[in-house]
């Protein structure tokens, strides 16, 4: 009996610890009594007092430590907390971002002191009025507050009309209100300047022909506003397009002359010739400029004849040019489809227009464009750098202490604060590299720097430097994951090392390299701190790509969504008005990063399907 059991146990020991089964078989008899996974010392201790009880299968005894349930809960809980944080963040951004542009009704509030105000409800909250405030209140109100344990409720109204009131938002405490209505003739009017106007329309003055409120239809208003917007666009088109082009060519002529002067000296015959040419060309351009300026003046004069008379809720009048109105709608009379129309047109403006009013209104198109350009350029720069470095480290370098050291250094580079990269980028790229480029290639433009200051190229290079460790590490791992048998197979076919890398190793490692690139792009697109030093500006006058030679201007400063968020949220005059814009811009930045990542993931998955099918 004893031997049989012994055998049984040693067999089970074999299964559990195959490596030292032979060594433990002899004392398996005593181990029967030990429920937990006994250590060697534990068995020796038990051996001193041997006692035989009914054998119990060890594996069937419930063991808290061995089961691992607590760890399951720990790991699962950790994951849940992480996911909850991410979901919470995304929901907050999406909820606030998506609702921002939806038109809200305008409430006209009658206050106890007889005054009125009109505005959109921004938000409401409870607060505790101070004792000096309480002292001034009526008995009734004080009782009311006492019932709510000393709290009163107040509402924040967006009242607009900054030019009349000097504030955009106003808190109103509930006990100040005697009544509120939502009259249908209240309009929400977005203007080119001074933010929105909230009030009624009195009359329309179309070049002397006055239409009073009573005979004014929405169709006429819409048509006249559209015409006004057309005039505004025309003026802007001439000023920003044609006149800007003339100025650009004029500047080019000036630079050409200066270049000749620098090259041959101001007294040389070449300079005289160039000067003659400059004179004829600049005269021609000046003429063009004068014509355009005259045209603009004519349109502006005509434009000033078309005005609209508005009145705020307390009757203060304000006259606007029709062309100053960006969008208007009767907030309390809108149907659902009308609201959706306003909502979509606001999104469209946001995505395709340039910012107005110190970035708090209008669109963010230049910022989207800048972010996109910079991220793509960064990816184009970082991919070859990172992949080449990783190829050398993994495929060519002799694996040893030096390579390990290099690897550790590369990993540590990922931990350097990004602002340090910004300082380096400004000092090395912009001032040293850029300064020398200016001196060599653009001497005629000095002292105005061309490449000698922050710009798209330097920002991309700085970010490439910042993200190169990510790419190197990911690429190295991807290369290491390529089976050695593939390399051997290729070498045995008579391929050289480089051919093996090119035809076999790199394609096979491509999905992993793409993963690294995706991570790098995500990190780069969200980075703001270093960019503030190397080329991002609050408002860029020109896009980095336009129709002037050489079309792609890597030296230009640009706008960036991340910096836009910072600027709008913390640098604008009215943080309350900026808050929704911060949410929308954040939503947009996240969407942009998500879209770029989704595109790369799609490419990666396509590659993966190619390389990882089949049996092995």
């Amino acid at each position: 009996m004893k031997t049989r059991r012994n055998k049984e146990n040693s067999a089970r020991d074999d299964e559990q610890t195959p490596t030292n089964a032979g060594g433990t078989a002899f004392n398996s008899e005593v181990r029967l009594n030990v429920n937990s996974k006994a250590t060697r010392q534990g068995t020796d201790e038990a051996a001193s007092a041997p006692q035989l009880i009914t054998p119990q299968r060890k594996s069937m005894v419930w063991d808290f430590k061995a089961r691992g349930e607590p760890f399951l809960w720990l790991f699962g809980g950790g994951l849940c907390v992480g996911i909850a944080m991410i979901i919470g963040f995304v929901v907050l951004i999406v909820y606030n971002g998506i609702l921002t542009f939806y038109p809200r009704p305008i409430q006209v509030v009658l206050l106890r002191d007889g005054s009125r105000l009109a505005g959109e409800v921004a938000r409401a909250e409870d607060f505790r009025p101070g004792p000096e405030v309480m002292a001034k209140l009526s008995e009734e109100t004080r009782k009311e507050i006492a019932v709510h344990e000393g709290f009163a409720r107040r509402t924040l109204y967006r009242i607009g009309n900054f030019d009349l009131y000097n504030e955009d938002f106003r808190w109103v405490v509930d006990y100040e209100i005697s009544g509120s209505t939502t009259p249908e003739d209240m309009f929400f009017i977005e203007r080119m300047e001074w933010g929105p106007f909230i009030g009624t329309i009195k009359s329309l003055d179309l070049n002397g022909k006055v239409i009073e409120k009573s005979s004014l239809s929405m169709e006429t208003l819409d048509a006249e506003q559209t015409r006004g917007a057309g005039r505004r666009e025309r003026i802007r088109g001439i000023e920003r397009g044609e006149i800007a082009a003339v100025n650009h060519y004029l500047e080019e002529e000036r630079l050409k002359l200066k270049k000749v002067g620098l090259q041959f000296g101001q007294k040389s015959p070449q300079y005289a010739e160039a000067e003659k040419e400059f004179k004829t060309n600049s005269e021609r351009l000046e003429l063009q400029y004068r014509d355009l300026a005259k045209e603009v003046a004519a349109i502006k004069e005509k434009d000033a004849q078309y005005t609209i008379a508005l009145a705020d809720v307390s009757g203060r009048e304000k006259t606007l040019k029709l062309s100053d109105i960006v969008r208007f709608y009767p907030a309390n009379k809108l149907t659902f489809s009308g609201k959706i129309g306003v909502y979509l047109s606001r999104w469209w403006e946001f995505l395709t227009q340039e910012p107005r009013e110190a970035n708090t209104e209008g669109g963010v198109m230049p910022a989207i464009f800048g972010t996109f350009c910079m991220t793509i350029l960064m990816a184009l720069l970082v991919a070859p750098f990172g992949v080449i470095a990783a190829l050398y480290l993994r495929e060519y370098a002799k694996q040893g202490r030096l390579v390990s050291l290099v690897r550790i250094c590369v990993n540590n580079l990922a931990g350097v604060p990004s602002i340090v990269y910004g300082v380096f980028g400004l000092g090395f790229f912009a001032y040293i590299l850029g300064g020398n480029i200016d001196r060599l290639f653009y001497p005629e433009r000095l002292p105005t720097p061309t490449f000698g200051t922050g710009g798209l190229l330097w920002a991309s290079l700085t970010l490439a430097l910042l993200t190169v460790p990510v790419v190197i590490v990911a690429t190295e791992e991807a290369l290491a994951a390529v089976p050695q048998s593939m390399r051997e197979g290729s070498l045995a076919c008579g391929a050289s090392k480089w051919q093996t890398i090119k035809y076999i190793v790199l394609p096979r490692a491509m999905p992993g390299i793409m993963t690294g690139l995706i991570l790098a792009m995500a990190r780069g697109a969200g980075e703001v701190a270093p960019l503030m030093l190397v080329g991002v500006v609050k408002l860029a006058p020109e896009l980095p790509i336009d129709h002037f030679f050489p079309y792609i201007h890597l030296d230009r400063s640009f706008m960036h969504l991340g910096f836009h968020i910072f600027d709008v949220g913390f640098q604008s005059r009215n943080s309350e008005a900026a808050k929704p814009m911060v949410y929308v811009t954040t939503l947009l930045l996240i969407s942009l990063v998500f879209a770029m990542n989704a595109a790369s993931i799609m490419i990666r998955n396509r590659l993966k399907r190619k390389f990882f099918t089949g049996h092995f």
Partner: protein
């Protein structure tokens, strides 16, 4: 294991001379992985057109010897060799020898099928493409010939552009053989080509080796003694880095001259 191996090494030879003469001669070949010696004074010849099998217990150095023939061992850090391997009177370990050129003259089939992640046709034409051959007609011709020679043509004829990773294990190994012979090598080196395959696929590969006999000189490492007995003309038995006996296959398996060989082929150790 003696520190200084004696020069004769005690190898017993009774191999069959090939009708086409000798292709390769391994002379006093020693090999070290770092400080550990893996091969001791190996002396043997490989007869042209014959199938030569290398057998022996695990770790006896047979794979090392095979990989020394096309210098695949060069990839290992800290490897040193002494002695010569002569291919048509050229020492392949001569510093003037171009390793890449050498490998082009030899095809190799590995233990685990290792098709490249590309189409079947591209796999087979790989040795030509790394040679810089871009002519579609030549490539196509080579692919067809190699696939026919490796008895895979009928199975993949209509899906040459499919990914090679979609083939079964046995088909993948025959594809690797096709790839190995596509470059028209002098020698075909096979490192346990059937160890990852099922019996049916193994039988097909063995038939294929039989068909290739005479056209190519084949050196095959195998753990499977029946396989060695079935496919090879000469068999070399290795033990602890030494060549113990090299002789005619039929005699090695029925009446070997060395006691150790007898013990191994009858399954008393190994």
């Amino acid at each position: 294991m003696t520190e200084t191996p004696d020069t004769t090494n005690g190898t017993v030879y009774h191999f069959e001379k090939g009708p086409q003469g000798t292709l390769m001669a391994i002379e006093d070949f020693n090999l070290w992985y770092g400080h550990k010696q893996a091969l001791f004074d190996v002396n043997m010849t490989v007869e042209r057109g014959f199938v030569t099998a290398l057998i022996g217990p695990s770790g006896c150095g047979k794979s090392t010897l095979l990989r020394s023939i096309n210098r695949m061992n060069d990839l290992i850090d800290g490897l040193t060799t002494k002695g010569k391997i002569l291919l048509d009177a050229t020492d392949i370990y001569d510093p003037d020898v171009d390793v890449i050129g050498l490998r082009k003259a030899m095809g190799m089939v590995f233990q685990k099928p290792n098709p490249f992640p590309m189409s079947i046709a591209d796999n087979v034409s790989y040795p030509l493409r790394v040679d810089g051959i871009r002519d579609k007609k030549i490539l196509r011709e080579t692919v067809v010939n190699a696939l026919q020679a490796s008895a895979l043509w009928d199975e993949v004829e209509d899906r040459l552009e499919d990914n090679a990773l979609g083939l079964s294990g046995g088909q993948q190994q025959r594809l690797c053989i096709a790839r190995a012979i596509a470059g028209d090598p002098d020698v075909l080196l096979m490192d346990e080509p059937c160890s990852a395959l099922d019996p049916v696929a193994t039988a097909k590969i063995e038939d294929l080796i039989d068909e290739l006999r005479g056209r190519y000189t084949i050196v095959i490492v195998t753990h499977n003694m029946q396989q060695a007995a079935r496919v090879s003309d000469n068999t070399a038995f290795m033990y602890l880095g030494r060549l113990i006996e090299y002789g005619e296959t039929s005699r090695i398996f029925t009446n070997p001259k060395v006691e150790k060989t007898m013990e191994y082929v009858t399954g008393r150790f190994g």
